[in-house]
Chain length 135, copies 2
DNA sequence: TTGCGTGCAAAGGTTTTGCATGGCA
DNA sequence: TGCCATGCAAAACCTTTGCACGCAA
């Protein structure tokens, strides 16, 4: 079965995730960070591991209009990221975990005006965080 | 200034958009459709025109996790797409143009609880539309 | 020993860019 | 005529895939 072995490359990738929670990163970011420390991971190894981590539910994979590459996000201690909404700063990429209740009123209006039901787990509200509001 | 000339390639692209409103398509889709009619548009011409139409606010540009390429969608009569929010059905891909006012209350709460300001033009609420709600 | 994971190399696809030419105004 | 838009070619990227070897269990 796949995912059985604890290898050096895999450990390095998981270590990177733990050190960079709630932040968007690309395969290239991991590649640069890990190889800067002297290791020499191959890109394909990174892609294969990220793909597996996504399937196992530990990683969220998504795309952003402004970023050419696929983005990933690791989050620990926020419960299942498939159940609540996220907001992301369009400048720095920081992720906020948003309580679904905040949209209660808006959800009702959307239902009555457009006939749509919000898919909270897949929604990312783009925003500016306090640090980036003037950029 | 850019965007001044009415050229044959640009007209063909705009014609395609008008014939395919509220539908997601990629640069490749346009390329195939137009060139199947006997024309011979270059890919770079398509990218440059789509890019301009996006900047002018007539086209929505976004990425989907499942689709390798960038997706576009054309909308007419909804004002600039940089100024209002969108909702997209996660099943069929249909886009809804949402009045920002709907989020008034939620926006205030996000501001006070998380310190963030919604970036309406870049936000896409994922949802299920009426046709897809049972899927 | 077994067979999964890795590194390497190459390929496939999308998107961008430089440059000379063509065509709109 | 002046200058923007196009076509062409090439390059830059991202991502995937096949294969042989190394290594964890």
């Amino acid at each position: 079965m796949k995912g059985e072995y604890k290898t050096k490359p895999r450990n390095a990738i998981i270590e990177y995730l733990r050190e960079n929670p709630d932040t968007r990163f690309t395969a290239r970011d991991i590649y640069s960070a890990i190889n800067a420390e002297g290791d020499n991971l191959d890109r394909s190894t990174i892609y294969r591991n990220l793909e597996r981590l996504c399937k196992e539910g530990q990683l969220i994979k998504y795309k952003e209009t402004d970023v050419h590459a696929t983005c990933y996000q690791y989050s620990e201690g926020h419960g299942s990221c498939h159940e609540h909404m996220h907001a992301q700063c369009s400048s720095c990429g920081k992720i906020f975990h948003i309580d679904n209740d905040i949209l209660d009123e808006a959800a009702q209006k959307m239902k009555s005006e457009y006939g749509i039901s919000i898919d909270y787990g897949k929604t990312v509200i783009m925003c500016k965080c306090e640090d980036c509001k003037d950029k």
